[in-house]
């Protein structure tokens, strides 16, 4: 966090210095964050679930869990279908496994008595970001055992499931000293109960695994056990990779979700009509009951007056997802010559994509490529500068791709919002005009859409009907006809379709076409003309109300009903956040309640109630159909209702926890020529490789390698290795080494340091190699591309690739050329 989020890390330092917070850092390498931590544990990359599972076991065995919270607010007491079989029974698989389709049928994961879903295996391949809670299965009626003793209650299943995740296993397979683990476990698990909370912060180090989603799930389970969700100082905090990445999933750039985590329609039975679609994704109970209101309001924002009750609000104009169009999926299509053209904006896949070498080969197959950037990135210059061209493997004149490089405005050259890690929308003003022909994204997309609409104006084909129906009338300003960004935010906020009056929040949205809203979770950011809440800049309290605006409804801590006891009083004075005011008969406190404000704590839903009314007054997790925190995921996750430790797709060890199942069985390797894998283990690739970022650079370097003040701080590609590995291979500090994987070979300077530790894994010393991935073939400073070594693979829920815990080999000398091992002079800069 200090390494990649130094500005946010100021709060960690403040907590440590002023309030005595204990900071525990777990990372394969000793980073700048480790230097600031009270406890640092190394870890074998890819053994995360083993470690987190052991923490869960520790919390249960030592009774650190917060019983009252657990019993009332989570599904720990809920009894699960007797058809369920655990990985303990099925040698590493959950019940429902279909070996032919390599998929689970999740019917046996449901609560006892819940009906299986109408549309078959709901948890099919389109988990996406928005999967949770979208299920017509009746999950609001269940049997429970509040003593947590029933052998099929979630708590007992969890206890049994993680019973073999012991400190001894952690020592043996994570490489963490048992005593150090126990100390960290005690420290973290002590942050539980009415008086204390603890938080878990993570970044892509956790997500970029073939078990990525389940790693985060394990962290969420641990936090639910300790009562650390919905309470101040608690939570599982995703530190996003760059400015507004949170925004780019909220109003998504992803193929399988629509704004506000509404599912994109898939090509299938459930998408035959708007009605069947909303039935599948709306849920009978809980907040997602409102799915149809948000969906119809979105369609009204897209299609305006053309969206009518008769044409199902233009639902049929939405494209249908026909397959895997994630980054990995479409890039392989590109390699296979199935794509004509590509727009690349704010991304540099020629350097940043997994198996970048293969991604660059994909670019060669395109007919046209548009790159909008502030600088000429490697993606724009691949046709004359890439290593393939330099090595003569392909000639520039043989590449048919027509490349358009269009200049883009920088963040200070355009107005708009950023949405940060905390779901906070912050408005930024334009500081200066963009230079020359550089334009904002708004300008580019607006005018591109305008020209495309102009082109199909007289076209009557059904193919272009949606484009013709699209409302595309943003008012513009200035000599360049720049769309007014406030107007876009207003459309996102939502309005009444007849009067154009802005809505004050998503509770005003309707399913009858009388409201339009571009993204329901952002509704309320612009509640009245002239009131842009993202542009508020006077913080009024400790939680920052008055500074920017957090979705949903300016709630700074989500699910904050859990910060009060079931009876509505705070758990403790020290940790109070929102509570029930019995006199005024409403929820009040230091945050906007994430709960229906007038629903009393003792509210009991009447028989047959739907939506939020079906949830009792002590059910804080209102997006779930049962209002509970899901220790157990009965639906929405495709690779198991509980997380299980599987080895990375390439691993130096066999899976000791489940010897019969080496990897996540649902993950995909996309194995093909050029995207090969090492064996597990593999004598040619005996070391573990993990990639990461440095403070000094920004992702693939397009914004930092081009700036002298940043480029000089980390000017060349290096690999971090331990002193033991250097001795073993006679590597002189600073000299060139070559790092190889089954995909390729790159060269880097050897940075020999005790910050990389030799781990003892299953009794044998194990080396990890650390590789920053910031360099490429253009910019002020250049270097080989770390991502050339990574495979294109897919985690099954969100289709992210595995960039951590892969296998590599290391040898002395340069990867290219004559292979000499001249050490770089450790020259001083004094004599320049």
């Amino acid at each position: 966090m200090a390494e990649n989020h130094p500005v946010a890390f100021q709060w960690v330092i403040e907590a440590r210095e002023k309030h005595g917070a204990q900071v525990i850092h777990i990372d394969p390498r000793f980073s700048r964050t480790s230097a600031m931590a009270n406890i640092w544990l190394p870890l074998r990359s890819g053994s995360d679930i083993l470690l987190l599972g052991a923490l869960i076991r520790y919390a249960i065995e030592n009774e650190y869990f917060f019983r009252e919270y657990l019993v009332h607010y989570t599904n720990a007491p809920v009894i699960i279908s007797e058809k369920y079989r655990d990985t303990e029974d099925l040698k590493g698989l959950f019940s429902g496994w279909n070996p032919d389709e390599k998929k689970y049928d999740p019917a046996s994961w449901l609560y006892e008595g819940a009906e299986p879903e109408r549309w078959g295996t709901a948890a099919s391949s389109h988990g996406g970001h928005g999967g949770e809670g979208h299920s017509p299965a009746d999950l609001n009626h269940y049997e429970k055992d509040e003593t947590l003793q029933h052998p099929r209650c979630v708590f007992q299943l969890l206890k049994r499931h993680f019973s073999r995740y012991t400190p001894e296993m952690v020592e043996r397979y994570c490489g963490i000293d048992k005593e150090a683990f126990l100390r960290a476990a005690k420290t973290f698990c002590s942050a539980s109960g009415p008086e204390k909370t603890g938080t878990i912060c993570y970044a892509v180090g956790w997500t970029q695994h073939s078990t990525g989603v389940q790693i985060i799930r394990t962290a969420a389970i641990l936090q639910l056990l300790l009562g650390n969700m919905g309470r101040p100082g608690g939570g599982v905090l995703a530190l996003r990779g760059h400015a507004s990445i949170q925004g780019s999933t909220d109003v998504p750039t992803l193929y399988d979700i629509l704004p506000g985590y509404l599912s994109m329609p898939h090509f299938g039975e459930e998408s035959l009509s708007l009605n069947t679609f909303t039935q599948k994704y709306g849920s009978k109970t809980g907040w997602w009951h409102n799915f149809d209101k948000y969906m119809v309001s979105l369609l009204k924002a897209y299609y305006g007056e053309a969206a009518t009750q008769e044409n199902e609000f233009g639902f049929h104009w939405l494209p249908r997802v026909t397959g895997d169009h994630s980054h990995q999926g479409y890039w392989l299509d590109m390699v296979d010559g199935k794509m004509d053209g590509l727009f690349v904006m704010g991304q540099n896949p020629a350097v940043a994509g997994p198996n970048s070498g293969m991604e660059r080969r994909g670019l060669q197959k395109l007919k046209w490529l548009v790159v909008r950037e502030m600088v000429e990135t490697e993606t724009a210059s691949f046709w004359y500068e890439s290593p393939e061209v330099k090595r003569g493997e392909v000639k520039t004149e043989e590449i048919g791709t027509e490349v358009f490089l269009l200049p883009a405005a920088g963040h200070a050259e355009k107005a708009g919002t950023f949405t940060n890690t905390q779901r906070l929308l912050q408005w930024r003003e334009k500081a200066v005009e963009p230079p020359d022909d550089a334009r904002s994204e708004n300008w580019f997309m607006f005018h591109l859409g305008r020209l495309l609409k102009e082109k199909v104006k007289n076209d009557t084909s059904s193919k272009n009907a949606g484009l013709r129906a699209l409302t595309w009338d943003y008012p513009t300003e200035g000599s360049e006809a720049e769309p007014i960004p406030e107007e876009i935010l207003k459309e996102i906020n939502g309005f009444k379709t007849d009067t154009k009056e802005l809505v004050s929040g998503f509770t005003e949205l309707k399913a009858d076409g009388s409201t339009a809203c571009g993204c329901w979770i952002y509704s309320g950011v612009f509640p009245k003309e002239g009131q842009n809440r993202a542009n508020e800049r006077e913080s009024k309290d400790f939680y920052g109300h008055g500074w920017g605006w957090a979705w949903p409804s300016d709630r700074r801590v989500i699910y904050n009903r859990a910060s009060a006891k079931p009876d509505g009083t705070p758990w403790s004075e020290r940790k109070k956040l929102v509570w029930w005011d019995a006199e005024q008969k409403k929820w009040t406190g230091n945050d906007v309640p994430d709960f229906v404000a007038t629903k009393p704590p003792d509210y009991k839903p009447p028989e047959g109630a739907v939506g939020d009314d079906a949830l009792a007054g002590d059910k804080p997790f209102i997006l779930h159909p049962d209002g509970l925190g899901w220790i157990w995921a009965p639906t929405g996750v495709v690779d198991g209702p509980l997380p299980a430790h599987y080895e990375p797709l390439e691993s130096p060890v066999r899976n000791a926890m489940y010897p019969a199942v080496q990897n996540n069985p649902v993950s995909e390797t996309k194995r093909r020529r050029g995207n090969d894998y090492a064996d597990s283990p593999d004598a040619k690739y005996p070391y573990i490789l993990t990639t990461y970022r440095l403070t000094e650079h920004h992702t693939a370097g397009g914004m930092s390698r081009t700036l002298s003040h940043l480029a000089e701080l980390q000017p060349e590609m290096f690999a971090e290795i331990s002193t033991q590995l250097a001795q073993e291979l006679s590597i002189v500090p600073g000299e060139w080494i070559t790092v190889t994987t089954a995909r390729g070979a790159i060269e880097a300077h050897a940075l020999v340091t005790p910050r990389m530790q030799t781990l003892m894994i299953d009794g044998k010393p194990m080396q990890q190699v650390g590789l920053p991935f910031h360099w490429g073939y253009s910019g002020l400073v250049k270097g080989d591309i770390g991502n050339d070594l990574v495979a294109i693979s897919e985690e099954p829920n969100v289709r992210i690739m595995e960039t951590k815990g892969i296998l590599c080999g290391v040898r002395r000398g340069r990867a290219h050329g004559n292979g000499h091992t001249a050490a770089v002079p450790l020259e001083s800069k004094g004599a320049n």
Binding site: Q10, I13, A35, W40, H709, Q714, E716, P754, Q757, T758
Partner: protein, 260 residues
């Protein structure tokens, strides 16, 4: 005007180098070479004509106070942002023959770039090795201005403003010295046995205006434990020269006098 100072606390520096970048941005300092050093993450390596803030990365086989690090041998990684000390008796200022280097109303030492003629006397006179000539340019000397322009309008120096963890603190020198002492006492109580304040006072520099909280020996941070201003040797040097000259003269005279 109060005399201002920096207090830089290595125990909360996260090594992000925002100070280096902010300094360069504000003061329009050019790049200082794209040289990968191989020395931890320290590619800036030292203060110089084109580096006015420098974050030092120290990897040591010692424990960081009470930190529990699961390493085979004790290990700590300490970062310290170093800067011109703006000495009370500044060697550079005293050595400058052109009057380019002056004392500001904030007690800082300021190089007037339009007067400097690049003679370089200041370079060898700095006890901390801070000021240097920009050799690849026209050879004039540069160093930290203490953001004189910012202080003049009531702003903090750029580095202290950019520091996310308040490792670089800026304020009145006496207050910061006290704050530094308190911080060291607090750190010692928390188990950082080798915490200390780097603030050499009993030397000829007569006090510095950029003090630091560090762990361990100052030498590890390239900080001289007893910095001395070269001009403090002037009196003894001239006295010796005078005495030598007198003795030589006496010998010469004696040689004439003893002539037969």
């Amino acid at each position: 005007m109060p005399t201002t100072a920096f207090l830089t606390d290595a125990t909360i520096c996260i090594g992000c180098k925002a100070c280096e970048v902010a300094c360069k941005e504000w003061n329009e300092v050019p790049e200082d070479g794209y040289v990968w050093s191989g020395l931890s993450y320290d590619n800036t390596q030292s203060l110089g004509a084109s580096t006015w803030r420098h974050v030092l990365f120290l990897e040591q086989p010692l424990a960081a106070g009470p930190q529990v690090a699961d390493t085979s041998d004790p290990f700590r990684w300490v970062f310290l942002s170093d800067v011109c000390k703006h000495c009370a008796n500044a060697g550079c200022l005293e050595a400058c023959p052109t009057g380019s280097i002056v004392r500001t109303e904030f007690g800082g030492v300021f190089v007037q770039k339009d007067i400097c003629n690049g003679c370089g006397y200041c370079v060898v006179s700095c006890p901390f090795g801070v000021i240097d000539k920009r050799y690849h340019d026209d050879g004039r000397a540069f160093k930290c201005t203490f953001c004189y322009d910012r202080q003049k309008v009531g702003l903090m120096p750029a580095c202290a403003t950019a520091c996310p963890t308040q490792s670089i603190q800026f304020g009145e020198v006496g207050e910061l010295k006290q704050r530094g002492k308190n911080r060291v006492a607090e750190l010692k109580a928390r188990g950082y046995g080798d915490a200390r304040l780097y603030d050499p006072t009993e030397t000829s520099v007569g006090g510095i205006h950029a003090i630091s909280v560090i762990l361990g020996e100052p030498e590890a941070y390239n900080l001289p434990p007893m910095p001395e201003v070269p001009t403090s040797y002037l009196k003894s040097a001239w006295t010796s020269a005078f005495v030598s000259a007198a003795i030589l003269m006496a010998v010469v005279l004696a040689a004439f006098a003893m002539r037969p």
